[in-house]
Symmetry: C2
Subunit: 330 residues, 2 copies
């Protein structure tokens, strides 16, 4: 599988928060000291970011962000991918763009020459692997409607928009504009719901988008339950059954459920003896699934590809898959 199969056309365009992850281990008292809820993602301002960074131990930096990771995975699989996200012309912005470009991803926006610094997410890791995120959005918040143009969007097969984009002032408007442009050119629109708190913040906008303009909903069980304010997954399925969108829903060890109109597929997770780190499993699944979809595989094959990518990621530290992850699939 390689780029030549795409005929040069951009198969996947990601629009999301461009973030550098700052990872550090913490002890059991740290979250209490900063007043953070275990396992949550909190948006913080620059002063707070400096405060938390000063309290953190030695860290490791790497490019991150949920949809950016999915786009990276898609490119690693051999897909032709492009990316819209805002970074500054600082060293963290250079790191982010380098890491994406090194995978062959076409970066569509220049680095900002003024404004806020490149975004960073302080990822606080406890001994049991639980992660709590404190994210300074910085330059991401300056992604504008004007950044979404015919030149930057082009004619991708799929545009994948991150739910977190709705936290940006012009985010809902630019997401809506990008959706219209891509659909007008015959492409599909995928929305990743990001996290259940994000869904709570933007429920009505998300529901509206899903009813008008989104073809593919990418979500885990909590997120899709939050979207429809249902008590459990079976109640969610009742709602989903009434809709036309393609729903791609991951459920951790319970596998994934794909629903598209009449078609419904329950796909089991692979058995894994040693789960090392579940971070990035959903993003990897998304990468594999959308890669299959772009290459016109059946939904079952897409689910198999997504599952295979997720299985590899949870058996290693870090969110990256190998180019060979799908090699032995038919």
């Amino acid at each position: 599988m390689n780029n030549t199969e795409s005929g040069g056309r951009t198969e996947l365009l990601g629009i999301s928060n461009a973030i550098v992850d700052v990872l550090a281990h913490i002890d059991e008292t740290f979250l209490e000291k900063i007043g953070a809820v275990r396992g949550s993602m909190t948006l913080i301002d620059e002063a707070r970011a400096r405060e938390i960074y000063a309290m953190m131990g030695p860290a490791t930096e790497m490019s991150g962000g949920s949809v950016a990771n999915s786009v990276a995975g898609f490119a690693i699989l051999g897909g032709n991918a492009a990316y819209i996200g805002k970074v500054r012309d600082d060293q963290l912005g250079e790191i982010f763009n380098h890491d994406m470009r090194s995978l062959g991803i076409d970066i569509r926006l220049p680095r900002a020459t003024d404004g806020a610094a490149t975004a960073r997410s302080h990822i606080l890791i406890e001994d049991d692997g639980q992660r709590t995120m404190q994210t300074y959005l910085g330059a991401c918040t300056e992604l504008k409607l004007d950044d979404v143009t015919e030149a930057t969007v082009g004619t991708p097969g799929i545009v994948l928009i991150e739910g977190y984009v709705y936290d940006i002032a012009e985010g809902p408007a630019l997401a809506s504009h990008a959706m219209q442009m891509v659909r007008a050119n015959g492409g599909q629109v995928a929305l990743s719901l990001s996290d259940s708190f994000c869904v709570d913040r933007h429920r009505s906008a998300f529901v509206d988008a899903v009813r008008n303009g989104v073809d593919i909903v990418i979500a885990d069980e909590d997120e899709v339950n939050a979207l429809f304010e249902t008590q459990d997954f079976s109640a969610t399925l009742d709602v989903v059954d009434t809709m036309d969108n393609l729903f791609v829903m991951t459920r951790g060890a319970k596998g994934s459920v794909i629903v598209h109109g009449e078609e419904k597929l329950v796909y089991p997770a692979d058995t894994v003896d040693d789960v090392v780190d579940t971070t990035g499993a959903g993003d990897a699944y998304c990468a594999g699934f959308l890669f299959g979809l772009s290459r016109r595989y059946s939904l079952e094959d897409c689910a198999r590809m997504g599952t295979r990518c997720a299985t590899q990621v949870i058996q290693r530290v870090g969110a990256r898959i190998d180019a060979s992850v799908l090699d032995d699939l038919g």
Copy 2:
């Protein structure tokens, strides 16, 4: 073991290249493409650094540098440590200083407001774990004799100088000046030989320093053989036996050999079932050994502490030890 045992006095001052590591995995063709020798450390200029970075895949950034890692380990063990090294007021410089300060290390120089960018070492990792380094020294090269003053040096118990400092224009002069100041105040001088190529570059200066002003020589087998231009380690020991310095020599799986005048100690390595990554083993050994020495332990105890730290580091990815690594030692 904690800072209060130091009575507030700086026990260890490190003077070295302040470097951020940029780590990426490479395939078997990469080194040939850039014309690098497997396992070597090559100094490169900024243009070449940009070229190599552009060719590298997605990377991970973390603060690094050999002596800086030893100082970090010393601080993690509870030692009172300080550091002299030059970074710019850029984001990588902020990362470096943050990581050191977060361990309680007293950073003695302000970040430079002009000149070259903070140094980075592109660490190219092959599938078998072999590492090849391409290092852009940047701001490190602007460490000056004037940076070594009574105010910045103070009165440390031990000053640990990195051999690589001799690659800097004013390095030999500032190293010599620091050595004199520390000895004049009753402190000891330790020189880490860095790597055998570095020894080749600066042999006469190192031999001169070891004969006039260095109390403790920290080296691995290859480095000390290179220093004395001997064919093998037993020939090196014949030379070392004639000298008064304390020689702390590591030999990988063969353990370590400590020689101080009439005293000679051969200390075995711990048996390790699963060596994950030997990177940083020597730096960790140095941290443990010098911590023991600062606290007036016997040379055998110092060797035990160094060995214990190295044993922990080779069983994990990354060069950092835990604060508890020496907990069950007597």
